[in-house]
Subunit: 111 residues, 2 copies
């Protein structure tokens, strides 16, 4: 991948963030409300260094916002990027309906 990669789009990092089961579990947990790092780590049986890395990935994807309060770090969901990813996928919900039509068109144009 050496030569001049373009800046990753938001879809890139969002989908990449969601490709890990631990991070999806974090998102699921945060749906119930904010949580600290140890509150996230304990039920997932994840170490704190590992969770710190996961959180930074989720943060880079814009899926999670954090705020330090005292010596604790509170994490909350910021789901706006999920909307973009879902919108991309939603087009393929429409794909199901138009599938036969597209195939028909294709066969008409490529006999």
């Amino acid at each position: 991948m050496s030569p001049a990669r373009p800046a990753p789009s938001s879809l890139d990092v969002v989908f990449a963030a969601l490709s890990d089961p631990t991070r999806r579990a974090v998102v699921e947990r945060l749906r119930l409300g904010p949580a600290t790092m140890t509150e996230l780590a304990t039920p997932l049986a994840a170490s704190l260094p590992a969770l710190t890395k996961h959180l930074s990935v989720l943060q880079r994807a814009g899926l999670v916002a954090t705020a330090k309060r005292g010596r604790q770090r509170y994490c909350t969901l910021t789901a706006a990027p999920l909307r973009d990813a879902a919108a991309w996928l939603a087009e393929y919900g429409a794909y199901w309906d138009e599938r036969l039509g597209a195939l028909t068109t294709y066969l008409k144009e490529n006999p």
Copy 2:
């Protein structure tokens, strides 16, 4: 990641497959109908070795099926796994965005 990783779930590989812009472009192109490897590679300015790798990722994710015909390889979308990913996202997106309520409804009514 050394110690005993569990088998990746289908969501893992589907989201990972979608995290690359070239592969998303392949999916978008295949929405219009089947295509051969060179037909996919040319507009994306991708080399054939690179595209072969991308295709194997998409195939492992169950997003694309291929059939050899003569010396050409025809690729088609098999979008069933996209629905699982969309369903996962819809659950979390619908909480914030009305537009995704429509997707949730769609997935509920088209099981």
